[in-house]
């Protein structure tokens, strides 16, 4: 019996090694895969079953079911070592967490799947976390849920919300700095800068409107229609990553997300279905806008208003009147008693 057991153990370890050598670590093994390895003498199915069972017991194989068939997956020897040091409850929890991979799992779902009592579950999680096998994570979609995943994995984009979230919170400063950088980079490549030597010439030639531009100001010209030199997403991504303003490398998807945001801000325009991007403002204007934005950023709308394009409604006192809806001739709020007109008039006449 003992010899039979040791024979099985030997065979099993052979089988395991063969599997490691022949297949990827992610491979899903069916019975035939094992038989094809020709490790089991005479392809004895019963023997194979014994071997796999012993491997499963040693935590070197993970037993799975797919389409009603038994399947197996390899476990690293290191992981197996970890698992062997766990109590059965802990191992069960570990397996559940392991199965969700990079998305992580909510504590309540672990409870449902393992059927463990909450206090036991908590103890297991605490133990696992203490051993540094798992870590808790923050899901942007469900900020209130307590979730866990394996310590060695990086959470997926879905969970973190992409590069723009730090600990599940949108990192506004980071976004603004990267956005500003992108806008400027794109802008530099969307406008033709008239070389300094050429500039005097130009002045004479255009002769009209822009002639009185200060001489130290750079002149920018738009490129003709169909110009193919506008930056692509790949180029922009590379530029951002090379610039050193990001602590992590940004993927193209994250950059596209930001580019789209900039399009919604009417700063950039996507050309050719988002293949290229063009800036609407010349680099000078971008710089000016950015340096101006900085001090105002945030609350004081009335100061910011001075820079905006206006229309009749935003200028008229009625456009900003908080009680405009109540205003009626002869009413409590009326054009005759309006307190906004007088300051507005004197303000208007002051200029």
């Amino acid at each position: 019996m003992a010899s039979a057991g040791s024979q099985v153990a030997e065979l099993a370890s052979k089988l395991y090694d063969a599997c490691v050598n022949e297949f990827d670590s992610d491979h899903l093994f069916y019975q035939n895969d094992f038989l094809n390895l020709k490790v089991i003498p005479k392809n004895d199915v019963a023997l194979l079953l014994e071997c796999t069972q012993s491997l499963v017991n040693q935590n070197l194989f993970r037993l799975l079911q797919k389409d009603g068939k038994l399947t197996w997956k390899l476990i690293d020897r290191e992981d197996a070592e970890k698992l062997r040091n766990l109590t059965p409850d802990e191992a069960m929890v570990y397996n559940v967490i392991h199965s969700t991979e990079r998305t992580g799992i909510w504590v309540r779902h672990i409870g449902n799947r393992t059927n463990l009592h909450k206090s036991i579950l908590d103890r297991c999680l605490k133990a696992l976390e203490g051993k540094n096998y798992i870590k808790s994570l923050h899901n942007v979609k469900y900020p209130s849920r307590k979730m866990y995943m394996l310590a060695g994995l990086a959470p997926s984009e879905e969970v973190t919300g992409g590069a723009w979230f730090t600990d599940g919170v949108l990192d506004a400063n980071f976004i603004n700095s990267v956005a500003g950088y992108i806008e400027y980079t794109v802008s530099r490549r969307s406008w033709f800068e008239v070389p300094a030597s050429d500039r005097k010439n130009k002045r004479i030639k255009t002769a009209s409107g822009k002639a009185e531009v200060k001489s130290d100001e750079k002149t920018y010209l738009p490129y003709p229609h169909g110009y193919a030199g506008y930056p692509t997403v790949a180029q922009i991504t590379a530029a951002v990553n090379d610039s050193g303003i990001t602590p992590v490398r940004l993927g193209e998807e994250s950059v596209v997300q930001l580019l789209e945001m900039l399009c919604y801000d009417n700063k950039l325009v996507a050309l050719g279905n988002g293949e290229w991007y063009r800036s609407l403002k010349s680099p000078e204007a971008v710089k000016a806008a950015q340096s101006r934005k900085a001090p105002i950023e945030g609350d004081d709308l009335s100061v910011a208003n001075k820079h905006l394009v206006k229309n009749g409604m935003t200028e008229a006192p009625c456009g900003q009147c908080p009680v405009f809806k109540l205003c009626a001739p002869g009413g409590a709020v009326s054009p005759e008693t309006c307190e906004y007109f007088d300051p507005w008039l004197s303000n208007g006449l002051g200029f």
Binding site: D265, L308, P335
Partner: protein, 641 residues
């Protein structure tokens, strides 16, 4: 149209322009819609004489439609809010005409406006149109014009001041009228113009449906036939176009000078650069004078039919004003040469566009098909563009890397351009120039504005403008400006995301707009109170528990537009009411300045302090009126374009 706010505004405008009697009649008609004379008299509580005088004068001004029914023989009166509203736009229109056709043309048009409609024979007899120079220093005439504006009996105005002999007849009147007509700014008055569009329509469909060949048809076919034929009939009856036959090579009279004198204009330090067409009227008078004499030489001086009755064609002016708005859009970031080319294109298009759109109301967002302008051939744009306009200087090269080399290769070329630039240098071949102009138009066709669209007809490149899309852009721009000023640029981004993506829940909205939750919620909430965005609840179960409900934010530009339009009307009314109030505040002083002996001789009769006061008052009034006209720009965008 007949909302409370717009009714109030129309009433104020009429009161301001024509006095209380008109306003009273108009308000009654607005409140009770169509009325017969006895009912009108009952509601308005006016004497017969007042009512008759008022009505006839208002009909003269097209403020009231009337319709005599064949069924009961009654004549119904109905308010014409469009005409009342266009009173506010008259200043803008006159400015436009003045910048395009000169001061005298503006004066002629103003006279026609003041008369409502007029026969040409009548215009010939008017003293103020005889000669500008005699009129201005003449105080009596000036006063008389005031009466005309405030009082109300335009019909018998022709009689007084007959001392200007009819013999020194309008040397300039007829060419001016012709050029106004060929621009489409005035048109022939038809009988149908006195009836409301609805009456015209009903009348036409009644006539069509009683025709024997239509009577035999049945059901849907008949209905369609009636609709189609009635449309034709109404069109035929209201057609007042005078430009046909007056156009010359696709250009209206008096317009050609633009090109001949284009050199001078474009060399002026770009008045166009800042203000668009309206800014163009910096032209000194001398130049205009020249243009006119030239016109008389060049174009046949056949007078117009003096029995013709004409009136102002406001629809056409909407087209012209809309084009100036497009031009302003272009000015945001296009090079100056492109803008001038664009102006030429728009001018050409204007001549071929009768009205801003075919449907009466602006169609709902998303249900609106594109409507293109008439295509303009590249070659005719090339003809119009000032030949000395520098086209190459303001576009970058196709491949920046090769620029250096190229410059190295042809220093000669560059030098000649640089040195002789001011003078006439070797004429660039027409082909080349066409290509460059095409390039400029292509720049304008780029997103986000897509100001032009290229269209190749049987091998010939033509350019046109997608009106509906651009009008929509103008609308959104106005809304965005308001949103930006009220809620900041964060809100602007949110609105644009919602507009592009439709309905979104908060999480998705955050992912796209990349805004922190706190900011996002705050702006959304404040915009919801302001009525700019709205929330839709989609319950996931029958209990409609809040926790199991999906909340979707959305932005409906149609709804926002219409509510903003009402607000704009209201704001305009408030400005006008404020003027009234300010006037009552200063009544004593103003009455003094308006005394007939003081008026026109203010310097003699008023003290220094009073003069200062008067100036202040005038500035104040001007400020408020300017605001009204700025608000009118918005109304035009939301309602007319």
């Amino acid at each position: 149209m007949m909302s409370q706010c717009s009714a109030e505004l129309c009433m104020l405008l009429i009161e301001d322009n024509f006095g209380e009697l008109f306003a009273r009649i108009f308000t009654v008609l607005q409140r009770y819609e169509r009325l017969t004379l006895p009912r009108l008299k009952f509601y308005a509580r006016l004497s017969d004489r007042q009512l008759h005088n008022g009505l006839s004068a208002m009909i003269q001004h097209h403020l009231i439609y009337h319709f005599t029914s064949l069924d009961d023989g009654n004549t119904y009166y109905e308010a014409n809010p469009q005409a009342a509203y266009s009173l506010v736009r008259s200043g803008k229109i006159l400015q436009l005409v003045e910048s395009r056709l000169g001061e005298y043309a503006a004066q002629v048009l103003e006279t026609i406006m003041n008369l409502g409609h007029s026969s040409i024979a009548n215009l010939e007899t008017l003293p103020e149109l005889q000669s500008t120079k005699q009129r201005i220093p003449n105080g009596v005439n000036h006063g008389e014009e005031e009466i005309e504006e405030n009082g109300g009996k335009e019909g018998d105005l022709a009689a007084p001041n007959g001392d200007h002999a009819v013999s020194e007849k309008p040397a300039r009147l007829h060419p001016t009228l012709k050029s106004l007509a060929s621009h489409g700014y005035i048109h022939r008055l038809r009988e149908a113009h006195f009836q409301s569009p609805n009456d015209n329509w009903l009348d036409a469909s009644r006539i069509i449906s009683s025709r024997p060949d239509v009577k035999i048809m049945k059901g849907k076919q008949q209905a369609m036939e009636i609709e189609e034929k009635a449309k034709e009939m109404v069109k035929e009856r209201t057609e007042g176009d005078l430009s046909r036959g007056l156009m010359y090579n696709g250009l209206p009279q008096g317009a050609k000078k633009k090109r001949d004198h284009g050199n001078k204009e474009s060399n002026q330090p770009a008045p166009n650069g800042t203000n668009g067409v309206n800014g163009g009227h910096v032209d000194d008078e001398e130049e205009e004078e020249n243009d006119w004499s030239e016109d008389e030489d060049g174009i046949d001086s056949m007078p117009m039919d003096s029995n013709l009755i004409i009136r102002v064609n406001y629809e056409k002016f909407d087209v012209a004003l809309r084009n100036t708005r497009f031009l302003e859009l272009a000015e945001q970031d296009a090079p100056s040469a492109s803008i001038q080319i664009y102006e030429c294109l728009l001018r050409r298009i204007e001549y071929q566009t009768a009205r801003c759109r075919d449907s009466y109301e602006i169609p709902r967002e998303g249900e609106e098909g594109e409507q293109y302008s008439a295509p303009i051939q590249l070659s005719s744009i090339v003809e119009d563009v000032d030949p000395d306009l520098d086209l190459t200087g303001c576009i970058g090269p196709m491949e920046p890397s090769t620029v250096l080399n190229r410059r190295g290769k042809r220093p000669l070329d560059d030098d000649t351009n640089g040195v002789n630039g001011d003078e006439h240098e070797d004429e660039p071949s027409g082909q080349n120039r066409a290509y460059e102009i095409d390039q400029h138009l292509s720049i304008l066709s780029q997103p986000p504005l897509n100001l032009t669209t290229k269209h190749v007809i049987s091998g010939l490149p033509t350019w046109r403008v997608a009106f509906r899309g651009l009008a929509r852009k103008l609308r959104h721009l106005e809304l965005e400006r308001m949103i930006e000023s009220r809620y900041g640029d964060v809100a602007l981004r949110v609105i644009r995301v919602l507009h592009a993506k439709g309905k979104l829940d908060e999480k998705r909205l955050q992912e796209i707009s990349l805004l922190p939750f706190k900011d996002l919620r705050q702006t959304l909430a404040s915009m919801q109170t302001g009525g700019f965005v709205d929330l839709q609840e989609v319950p996931r179960d029958a209990q409609r528990q809040p926790s199991k409900t999906i909340y979707l934010w959305y932005y409906d530009p149609d709804r926002v537009c219409s509510s903003i339009l009402e607000d704009t009307y209201k704001a305009m009314s408030r400005c006008l009411q404020r003027i009234k109030f300010e006037r009552t505040r200063e009544r004593d002083f103003l009455e003094k300045t308006e005394r007939t002996d003081v008026k026109g001789h203010e310097e003699e009769f008023l003290s220094e302090a009073e003069l200062e006061h008067l100036r202040n008052w005038k500035a104040k009034e001007a400020l408020l009126l300017a605001e009204v006209s700025r608000l009118d720009d918005m109304v035009a965008v939301f309602r007319d374009y």
